[in-house]
Amino acid sequence: MKKILIVEDHIDIRKLLKMTLEFDDFEIHEAATGDAGWVLACELQPDIVLLDVMMPGTLNGLDVCRRIKSDPGMRHTKVIMLTARVQSDDRAAGFAAGADDYLMKPFSTLQVLETIYRMEAAH
């Protein structure tokens, strides 16, 4: 079963993302800050990380993405950035940080699943 980590500071958004992923069989983990997300990622070595860009704490989403991408234990880990529609620079910044894909907020339930299936198919 694919292991997915959601790193998102808004509890409601996080819950909706989790409920969306529950449409299928995934092992789902959650973190509410970049810092907590990084710690959990190291521990779990997830297959996919859904990563918000703007989060409180010392590490934002881009920092976490860069760390994941330079960690030898997480070479298999795909990162999908969650970017706000208004901040169009987020997308470029996300790819510069090594993100594999991105999703715009407000996120589309079907797009979340399609993006994850695409990551799986690329394996």
């Binding site: 509890i11 819950k15 799986e120």
Partner: protein, 258 residues
Amino acid sequence: MTSLPLLEPASQVPPDTRCFDEAAAAQMERFVRDFGRMYRERNEALREVTRAHHAALLHLSAAADLKDDDTGVHIVRIGYLAEALALALGQTVGYARMLRKAAPMHDIGKIGTPDSVLKKPGKLTPEERQTMNCHAAMGAEILGRSNIPVFRMAAEVALTHHERYDGQGYPAGLSGEAIPLSGRITAVVDFFDALTMDRVYRPAFAVPVALEMLAAERGRAFDPVIVDTFLAHAEAIDALRCKITQECPSFDALIDAP
């Protein structure tokens, strides 16, 4: 060193701040849950339809194959051998699996080929050859009516499995990489499997002879990379061929195997 939080007042904001009104959040969750149920039910229904459609088309392919003096296991072998060859070529597991399900239907169009042509002993006249060659396009038409990916691939295989790498094939005379990979792989597997089975007009060729005949078509009928890969994995592929012949997996197994 740990002075960062002072620079970033945002970090003082407690995580887990709500962004929705509680009642609105509850209602939204209700919607998502219902949507999830419909999503799963829809996928389940689609799977059922696909499976029934697939089984029917496999039976039709087997019927076409029976006209052509075979026991039906040939088309199952084509599926598994095409899957193995696709994997050996470095294709994804998903692609290889889809090819396993799609390739067995490549000759479904022979259902429309008159027996007088299909079963004619000896050489075909140019008109008969033309009638025979129609099976590729007919198969593509039977299979191509669906939007489901596995049938789209099956239609592609049916249409292109008689194209030749050197451009001398039919129906379109495509050459090289212009021939879809699925068709190029199936052509190789079909050639080898047909040679290594008994036909009414000749006994099976020995495996080493069949491999030599395959090598002779490298860059002519077949993609050189695919032929090289086949030859490099010939032992494993032939072992799989024997295993399938012995176990004779059902169509259900062909559809459902992971």
